[in-house]
């Protein structure tokens, strides 16, 4: 077994184990931490495939920014295992059913996807994941979609700010609220 394969199996086991931890742990903060560990394992896979930029951006954006905000919200709401609402049997049954249906769809998709099982688990020779090649691809071949998506993000950001801003309540409404 080469070092590459050892790392591959280790990271795969870690990714699956942590992903199970996300859904099985009862404490929401622990779920978030397992999710972060899953992101790390996936980033490790990206590094094995020589996609270093993708790996580090995955960590910066998901583990470093989005999950911090997730944790922030969970901490402020102070969710604990005993504060978890009791769900009815019907909801649990529906959840199992829909989850199983989703699982079936994923399995069906994977059987069609032609997985590469014969030995070469991951390919580390590709150069497209390096930052220079990625930059050239993004800013030459795909510059229009790239810029359009950045405008989309900008508008989402401004929209969030407008929604979050305190509105001046008109006078006639204010009196209604007081009553």
């Amino acid at each position: 077994m080469s070092l590459h394969e050892i790392l591959f199996w280790f990271l795969s086991a870690m990714a699956i184990g942590c992903a199970l931890g996300v859904i099985l742990s009862r404490n929401p903060v622990k779920s978030v931490l397992f999710l972060i560990a899953t992101f790390f394992a996936i980033s490790g896979h990206y590094v094995l495939m020589n996609a270093q930029f993708l790996a580090i951006v995955n960590i910066i954006v998901y583990a470093g920014a989005i999950m911090v905000l997730f944790l922030f919200v969970i901490m402020l709401m102070n969710l604990n295992a005993d504060a978890e609402p009791q769900k009815s049997r019907l909801v649990q049954f529906a959840a199992v059913l829909s989850g199983g249906a989703l699982f079936l769809v994923i399995i069906a998709a994977f059987t069609k996807a032609g997985l590469n099982i014969d030995g070469a688990a991951v390919d580390s020779s590709g150069e497209i994941g390096l930052i220079k090649n990625l930059g050239i691809a993004l800013f030459k071949d795909y510059v229009l979609p790239f810029e359009v998506s950045s405008v989309l993000f900008l508008s989402a950001m401004i929209g969030a700010m407008v929604l979050g801003k305190k509105e001046d309540v008109p006078n006639h409404l204010e009196s209604k609220i007081k009553n």
Binding site: M1, S2, V29, I56, I59, A63, M75, I131
Partner: protein, 360 residues
């Protein structure tokens, strides 16, 4: 030596280097605590630690020993696993950045007839600067987990302050570094240091500080905020929050938090020196290299880098004992309304200058 198709000499070399870097980080951090107390004492016209050893030089050992033997208390209503994980995570993230800093130039070593080139850098990855961001953005988890799992309102407030502070300042930090990257055209720290070779070339300074002074200023201010050091030590301001996120911690867990802060300071000084102040380069290094054997030259280079790092650490300390603490809204205003627009303007100007004057 190929076993399990792993190059074991490479493996051993890297592990030895990692051990040396981590141990010397601990050493520097320990003596930074001593230095901080001495600097504070001198600036306040006191003597400072003077009892343990000559000039109080054994004081860090005494402090460490004391922390080890103190009683370990885990609060009843805390989330225990996370309470223990918090300081450990903080320490790990503090040490992680050291992996990509080039501490000195490569030198050759002959083992059993074969010549090995030994790099004084654990990993030269071509996303070096982004890696720093990744680790910096993870650094807040240790504080958040510790603060939340303590189940104390002061700790929680402090953790939230720390998180929002570090998220706000990461943006300006990233924008300031993008301007530097436009000049260097690479993200690899090794290449960035090699570009700053010597001190003067082609009619201008080679160090990035002279090419991007505004970016340096923004980066410096942001590192104060990321390090939670005065004047931005909001998460620990004792007059409002008692002690901050490590209020409930005792014994060596508290020690880890306090210690990791000094390690953070050491590492970010090293990053500042590497990115802006030429790393291990110094004026007239070519003449020194020709006169010395390779190994000795590497040692001189490492020493030069350490001198720069110590200079930055002293600067951090002088600022701490000179400026009063900001108010929290002032801190956020400075970050969002001061530094981010400034960094954006710097970015646009840098881009324009490169486009019109250096476009080959």
């Amino acid at each position: 030596m190929l076993l399990l198709s792993i190059d074991w000499i490479f493996f051993i070399e890297k592990i030895a280097l990692i051990l040396v870097i981590i141990l010397s980080s601990f050493g520097v951090a320990a003596y930074a605590t001593w230095g901080e107390r001495k600097v504070a004492a001198i600036m306040q016209d006191r003597i400072g630690p003077a009892r343990a050893g000559l000039f109080g030089l054994l004081q860090p050992l005494a402090d460490g020993g004391k922390l080890f033997f103190k009683e370990e208390i885990i609060p009843d209503h805390s989330t225990k696993t996370l309470f223990i994980l918090g300081p450990a995570l903080f320490m790990v993230t503090a040490l992680m950045t050291s992996a990509i800093i080039p501490w000195g130039p490569d030198f050759t070593l002959t083992i059993g007839g074969t010549v090995h080139s030994v790099a004084l850098q654990v990993a030269d990855i071509n996303i070096g600067i982004l890696y720093i961001f990744g680790v910096v953005s993870l650094g807040v988890y240790g504080i958040m987990l510790g603060g939340w799992s303590s189940n104390n309102k002061f700790s929680l407030l402090s953790a939230i302050r720390s998180a929002s502070q570090s998220i706000s300042y990461e943006l300006a930090m990233g924008l300031s570094l993008i301007a530097v990257l436009m000049v260097t055209q690479t993200l690899s720290l090794k290449t960035i240091v090699e570009q700053q070779h010597g001190f003067w070339a082609d009619g201008y300074f080679t160090w990035n500080f002279f090419k991007q002074p505004v970016a340096f200023l923004i980066f410096l201010v942001c590192s104060f905020a990321e390090l939670n050091r005065a004047p931005f030590d909001m998460p620990e301001c004792e007059s409002e929050l008692n002690m901050g996120y490590h209020q409930e911690y005792s014994s060596m867990k508290l020690g880890l938090y306090l210690f990791a802060e000094y390690i953070n300071m050491f590492i970010s000084s090293a990053v500042l020196a590497t990115v802006f102040f030429g790393g291990y380069n110094f004026p007239g290094m070519d003449a020194v290299r020709d006169a010395m054997p390779g190994g000795l030259f590497s040692i001189i280079c490492v020493t030069v880098l350490m001198v720069k790092v110590v200079g930055f650490i002293l600067f951090f300390m002088f600022i701490r004992w000179t400026l009063p603490r900001f108010r929290y809204d002032q801190l956020l205003n400075l970050g969002w309304k001061g530094l981010i627009p400034l960094a954006l303007i710097n970015l646009v100007i840098t881009g324009g200058v490169i486009l019109f004057f250096f476009n080959k």
